[in-house]
């Protein structure tokens, strides 16, 4: 396995608050890497820094041997990092299929004239984008909903659609921010299967989770954040036994 993402001494300061303090971690190609920690530990902030949503205060992020911490978010997406959000952010008034097609935007080129004149290149490109989008809709069992407005979907479907949209950008690394939030145990099991299947298709997955089922069942390695600092890292079994982790979650015995 080779190194895909390296977060190196990354810090983020909001006003006077240090949200992240010199975080370093490495994600290997093809693994499922989990990030856990109590609420407010800085997990989503770290995702926002990696994906370029927020500017980084100090440190660097290296993806595929390339420094990306100063790039705008849409370029980071083009390089192969796609994300989902903790509170789902779909394009509500666009259809399910259109949502996924937006994901194909950065893999296509058609501009004004080729659109207007319906040039063969545009038609071929559009057909290809449709194929990719349909394939992911199929994968997530959303094909029958393709013509519906995204805002009309049920909660679990919205979650799946958001992942489908991210995958349509053809990423190497997929950042999932609490994919199991609000799901029942049955849905969590299905989600675990889906995430494993995505990994088997050659994607690397970096996810934030609270749900221990997801962490213990599918993550190869995990890191733990608490108050903006990394307090542990290792396999799920190792981390579970780490006294500092137990302390962060449950408090110290007096």
């Amino acid at each position: 396995m080779s190194l895909l993402l390296e977060v190196c001494q990354v810090s983020k300061v909001f006003g006077g608050l240090k949200a992240l303090d010199r975080i370093s971690l490495k994600v290997e190609e093809g693994e499922i890497f989990g990030l856990i920690g109590p609420n407010g530990a800085g997990k989503t902030t770290l995702f926002n820094l990696i994906s370029g949503t927020l500017p980084i205060s100090a440190g660097s992020v290296v993806f595929k041997k390339r420094e990306i911490s100063r790039l705008p978010d849409y370029q980071i997406c083009q390089l192969g990092i796609a994300r989902t959000y903790q509170n789902i952010r779909l394009f509500g008034r666009m259809t399910v299929l259109e949502n996924v097609l937006v994901g194909q935007h950065c893999r296509t080129q058609a501009g004004l004239w080729s659109t207007f004149l319906r040039l063969p290149a545009e038609r071929a490109e559009n057909a290809r984008a449709q194929r990719v989008a349909e394939e992911w809709l199929d994968f997530f069992h959303l094909s029958t909903k393709r013509g519906e407005k995204a805002s009309s979907l049920a909660y679990g479907e919205e979650r799946r659609l958001e992942i489908a949209r991210a995958l349509a950008t053809e990423p190497t690394l997929l950042l999932l921010d609490e994919p199991s939030a609000g799901m029942n145990p049955q849905e969590v099991r299905e989600l675990n299967e889906l995430i494993t299947k995505i990994r088997n298709r050659g994607k690397t997955i970096f996810l934030i989770e609270h749900n221990m089922r997801v962490i213990m069942d599918i993550c190869d390695r995990i890191a733990v954040l608490d108050f903006g600092q990394k307090i542990a890292q290792g396999t799920p079994a190792e981390v579970r036994a780490d006294p500092r982790v137990i302390e962060a979650y449950l408090g110290r015995e007096e």
Binding site: S51, T53, P72, D73, Y74, C77, Q78, A82, R83, Y85, R89, L90, F91, G92, R93, M94, E98, L101, V102, G103, Q104, H105, C106, T108, Q109, A110, G111, L112, T115, F116, R118, E122, E125, N126, A129, R165, A166, T169
Partner: protein, 288 residues
Amino acid sequence: MIDAYTSQVLTFIGINSILALSLYVTALAGQLSVGHAAFMGIGAYTSALLMTKLGWPFFVSAPCGALMGGLFGFFIGLPTLRLKDLYLAIATLAFNIIWVVIVMNVEVFGGALGIFNVPKVTNNGIVYVSLGIFLYFFYRLQDSRLGRAFRSIQEDEAAARAMGVNTVYYKVYAFTLGALMAAYAGALYAHFATFISPHDFEVDRSIEILLFVVLGGSQTYIGPVFGAAVLTLAPEVLRFLAEYRLLVYGLMFVVIMLLRHEGIIEEHTFAWRRWSKALRREGRESAP
């Protein structure tokens, strides 16, 4: 054959439809402009001046007017598109006011009196062929990469960026396109009215264009055109009411907005199959 009066009303419907579409494309990328009359004026003045002062033919001067509008749109768009929603609306409104003041005080533009004797070139053929081309463009835009990029920005700008859409680029793009179209409509207007003055392009005209889009409905490209047609026709149809005309015109706005928040034309207004399906479903459910 149609008489001169009907023909003139038709011309205004056509020009106003193009204006409505010019704001629709801006709105498509989630931007509200209350300064489109200024772009219209830029097109009108550019084309009128090129023709009266330099003797350029219409088929060169009108596209030049459009390009000039696009150029202004681009340079106004670059700094102001950092603003959101109402702040952007106010910035565009301010631009409109400033533009009128500048034109009034510059001699080449004819000051407050404007420009007389602009050659009359615009006819219904030119107007409706232009409108047809624009409508075809919007038809193509519906299911295209460009159209989806615009709409994704309207829906959720941050999510669009995270999905690889360069939102600044597409926002400036939509704004420039809108300005270009408005300027073209302005050129058509100048060569129809044969007389233009700064008062033709004041903020109230911008608001009128906004009304076309809001009343007609901004979910589809048919809505703004429909809005432009209705609002251009209404004052003519209501002429028999004499002094009560504006009262009824205003009441009409209120009633339409109360009944249809999203405008007269909504997304499914023309989806006949959906309608009949819904009716059949209803029939089944009410059956014993």
